[in-house]
């Protein structure tokens, strides 16, 4: 039940993003918005990023609070590589971190991480 509801929500938000992308000329590229939408899906999927287990992300239902809220990402992380490194292997920055090393442990591919970063930059 809950799963179905969540998928419906994701589908809806995807639809919203797609239509926004096609309607709004100020969006630099539809492909970029596409990536962000895909990144959001990966980030929210419990079998993949499951970032909501630990982080507040705008619009996410019942988020955890083990990590800091992911807000104002563009202002706080202008360097894309820094974000990539944090997601690829958070233990590099903080050896006793609780954040899983998504890239290093092959939970996410590099392409998945890039898509998530596109999504994070919308937050």
């Amino acid at each position: 039940m809950r799963n179905t509801a969540r998928h419906a929500t994701i589908a809806l938000s995807l639809a919203a993003l797609f239509s926004a992308a096609s309607l709004m000329p100020q969006v630099a590229s539809a492909a970029g918005a596409n990536m962000a939408a895909k990144g959001k899906e990966i980030a929210w999927n419990r079998k993949k990023g499951n970032c909501l287990a630990c982080h507040v992300m705008a619009g996410g239902n019942l988020p955890g609070d083990i990590g800091p809220p992911l807000v104002a990402m563009k202002a706080r992380f202008p360097d894309r590589k820094k974000l990539f490194d944090q997601i690829y292997d958070a233990t590099k920055n903080n050896p006793s971190t609780r954040m899983p090393p998504f890239g290093k442990h092959k939970i996410l591919s590099n392409a998945d991480i890039e898509a998530i970063i596109d999504y994070l930059y919308t937050l």
């Binding site: 287990a53 955890g64 083990i66 706080r76 006793s96 609780r98 090393p101 442990h105 092959k106």
Partner: protein, 281 residues
Amino acid sequence: MKPMKTAIAALCALAATGAFADKKATDTTPEEDLKTYRDYFFKRFPGVPLQEYANGVYAIDKTSRDSWEAIEEFPPYEPMVEEGETMWNTPFANGKTYGSCFNDDPAQRKNYPYWDDQRKMVVTLPLAINECREKNGEKPLKYAKGPITRLLAYMAYESRGQKINVKIPNKDALAAYNNGKSIYWARRGQLNFSCGSCHVQSAGQHIRADILSPALGQATGWPVYRSKWGELGTFHRRFKGCMKQMRAKPYKPQSEEFRNLEYFLTYMSNGIEYNGPSSRK
């Protein structure tokens, strides 16, 4: 301003967890561990008295505590305690009963787990139950769920109020404790968590909608009726479930690894009263 704050936060996190996570198991004695853990949790949850930790997450979360207290008014495990009492009283095929292995007293909780120096192993109560059965020509019971949880529920119920008092009598026992401790702190699985990542470092925090219970007191309430299971399960069933959550290959209930883990985790709860069986979400 911001980097400074982050740096301080990171330092605090390290200072708080370095005491356990970054040490080798043999670096500190059990007595030192007991003190470090207690100080850590007492600081993290000011005003929560030691005995309260027996109630798991409900010791630290008012919201879920209210509905839990309502459930405990009509405990879902009550009929299972009665089934366990029937098992206790029903003779084996050879005419003997469980009482013949346990001094005719079901209130055995306080005696387990213990270090058996002859066999050089940690003996837990479920293990002793199956050894009793086999000694009397009966088949052993499954360790995670089913009939054994009924008998454990009855024995736990009869033992309510006994204080945990796990002893580590010698070097070999200490090695088993240290093994349990390193299993507790080893990062494993695809998600790279240790038990301590969640139940020490993140105790009281939310993982999605779930609040994480502190390691302190986790040994007291078994067997547990979990609404998610819809029935009773053993301590080791929960270990197994958490290891699966870590996307790690779980050890088997009553394996040496899980018995040593139980030895370590129960020692951490020394001085807290047994209050099983109990109910959880």
